[in-house]
């Protein structure tokens, strides 16, 4: 029997406020799924419904064949890593990590042994007798992880667990967490508002906005083919232009003011529909004309950022940003010079939502 996690048509109301609106997704056993969205999008509420801290107003949460919608949190085979870590301040590191086993009435001896193993796994061996407040933020984070993992949960829930760490530590922990997840083969459901974190770690991403799912897919799908304006804008930097979808014979284009951008025909969109297009800055080349879409414009601004530079180009009143690696800063175009920009047609994403 597999224990895939199914979230089915789940809705949660807090009084008059609908925090989560008809959300469904499945996480296959052993996969890393991220719920990504801005604060207030319902991602934490969704996670808390999986953990059992909130009961859905409508819908079901299932683990394999087992309906856990109304099951108390202490009976569910899920474990949570809290944003604040929620380590018990009055207990030692060892007592914290061993808490779940104590609740399951595992004998003290075995408990000590498994706590030891767990602390080794998170690379803090021998810290059993330390007090929680003696540990650094990063160490506390590892202890919180060890405490959640020791009960061998079917699903590990992580609520912005790296949010309190500084940037460098966070980047290291992202990689470590992902490795750990692959090593243990446990299902991870990870909540974050950090799109980069989501792209780095996830097998699959569910983008939430205003309690609803905007898009779900692999990191590549989400980044390369955003389906809504919200997703394109939220994940990474992008150029967003508003326009009208125009069908002409076999071809199609999006007319944005004076510029017409050729796109692949999309049957589901009617001629004359208002749409947006998204073109990622790094897809836009400057000074090449071979193939793809080429547009003439004028450089209005060049922003140098060290390894990359952002070139702002005015094309018939619209502004497009091209991002390029800086090999030699002498190669950068000058503001005010005329230029041609160019990108592959499949990198123009037509967005209807």
């Amino acid at each position: 029997m597999t224990s895939d996690l199914h979230v089915e048509n789940v809705t949660k109301d807090f009084g008059d406020v609908r925090a989560v609106d008809d959300v469904s997704f499945t996480v296959e056993e052993g996969k890393f799924l991220t719920l990504l969205g801005p604060s207030g999008c319902g991602k934490t509420t969704t996670l808390r419904m999986i953990a059992g801290f909130e009961t859905p107003t409508e819908g079901q949460v299932r683990l394999g064949d087992r309906d856990v919608t109304d099951e108390e949190p202490y009976r569910r085979p899920t474990s949570m890593v809290f944003q604040s870590y929620a380590l018990f301040p009055h207990k030692t590191v060892g007592e914290n990590v061993g808490f779940g086993l104590k609740m399951r009435e595992v004998p003290a001896e075995e408990r000590a042994e498994r706590v030891g193993e767990m602390l080794e796994l998170v690379e803090l061996p021998g810290t059993e007798d330390r007090a929680i407040d003696e540990l650094s933020g990063g160490q506390q984070q590892r202890i919180a992880l060890a405490r959640a993992l020791i009960t061998e949960p079917e699903v590990l829930l992580l609520d912005e667990p790296l949010g309190a760490l500084d940037l460098k530590l966070r980047k290291n922990m992202q990689v470590e967490l992902k490795n750990l997840q692959e090593e243990l083969g446990i299902t991870f459901v990870y909540v974050t508002h950090d799109q980069e974190e989501a792209l780095t770690m996830s097998d699959e991403i569910v983008v939430l906005n205003d309690g609803e799912i905007e898009q779900r897919g692999t990191p590549t799908e989400i980044y390369e083919n955003p389906r809504t304006r919200f997703v394109a804008d939220f994940i990474g930097d992008t150029n967003l232009l508003d326009g009208t979808y125009v069908r002409n014979g076999d071809g199609a284009a999006v007319r944005c003011g004076a510029v017409e951008l050729p796109v692949s025909p999309i049957d589901s969109i009617a001629d004359g529909t208002d749409v947006s297009v998204s073109i990622r800055p790094e897809k836009i080349r400057i000074g090449e004309t071979a193939g793809g879409v080429s547009v003439d414009g004028e450089v209005v601004d060049v922003i140098y950022q060290g390894n990359i530079a952002k070139v702002h180009v005015d094309v018939g009143g619209a502004r497009l940003v091209s991002e390029r690696q800086v090999v030699d800063s002498i190669d950068l175009p000058a503001a005010g010079s005329a230029c041609t920009i160019n990108w592959d047609r499949e990198h123009t994403d037509v967005l209807t939502g």
Binding site: F82, H90, K91
Partner: protein
């Protein structure tokens, strides 16, 4: 204002407090502790009607031999312990009710009724009211009325101290415990109560010391068989100060300062 004044003023603020401010602060501490030191001094001084300047332990020896004082002290400790237990239990229950759970209607008036009114109304009014109440009931004066009065009197303080802890308590700690398999009862025992322990202990200590030092309520509801120490001390200083009162006062001060100090530290 001249430029020179401005510079001097600014330099002054860099230097920290002015001598005047420091002196005023020191004098205030002298004001707060001077009378307490006087009691200690008098308890070791041989003068019966004023300071004589001779060291003596006579008053302590006399005090130890006076069964009325020792009995009153023991009774006050006994009352304090009973009040401490009852008041703390009630305070924990009420604090959860006020700070966490819901009430069918608005909770503001209840908090006012439970905590603010008893803290605000004159104690003498409550003491008299309680005296009339127990007289009407035919209970009269004694141990039970004192305990009841002191519980009502210490309860708002204890509740405020515990409620502050409940409000500050990180609820994710309890969620984490449940998530790891602890049922609600276990969660309360293993996580909630230990996390609140400093506040509960502080509330207990405050309750004890408030009861131990309470005079006005006891004054009205204590009777021949049950006279707590403050009422006994009152009798001694009202008539004509007997020096033994300084000795027993030092004992009281040591007990209550120790407990108040502990409680104040815990509450932080």
């Amino acid at each position: 204002m001249s430029v020179a004044d401005g510079i001097r003023d600014r330099l002054g603020s860099e230097d920290g407090p002015s001598p005047g401010l420091t002196a005023a602060t020191a004098l205030t501490y002298l004001f707060l502790y001077g009378p307490i030191l006087v009691v200690v001094l008098m308890s070791f001084d041989a003068g019966r009607y004023g300071l004589r300047g001779e060291l003596t332990f006579e008053w302590y020896a006399n005090m130890a031999g006076r069964s009325d004082l020792i009995d009153a002290l023991l009774l006050s400790v006994q009352i304090g312990l009973v009040v401490m237990v009852v008041s703390t239990v009630l305070a924990v229950v009420a604090a959860f009710g006020l700070a966490r759970f819901e009430w069918p209607r608005r909770k503001g008036p209840i908090a006012t009724y439970l905590v603010f009114v008893p803290l605000t109304l004159p104690i003498i009014i409550y003491g008299i009211g309680l005296f009339v109440f127990f007289t009407e009931l035919g209970v009269g004066r004694g141990f039970v009325p004192i305990v009841v009065g002191h519980v009502m009197y210490t309860f708002p303080f204890a509740t405020l101290v515990v409620a502050a802890g409940v409000i500050d308590l990180d609820r994710t700690l309890e969620e984490a415990a449940m998530d790891l398999g602890a049922d609600p009862v276990t969660t309360f025992r293993e996580v909630t109560l230990p996390a609140l322990a400093p506040n509960v202990l502080a509330a207990a200590l405050f309750s004890f010391t408030l009861s131990f030092d309470e005079f006005l309520i006891s004054f009205f509801v204590s009777g021949a068989g049950a006279i707590p120490l403050p009422v006994r001390i009152w009798g001694m200083v009202r008539a004509d100060i007997e020096p033994e009162v300084y000795a027993i006062s030092v004992v009281v001060l040591i007990i209550s300062i120790t407990i108040a100090g502990l409680a104040t530290r815990l509450r932080r």
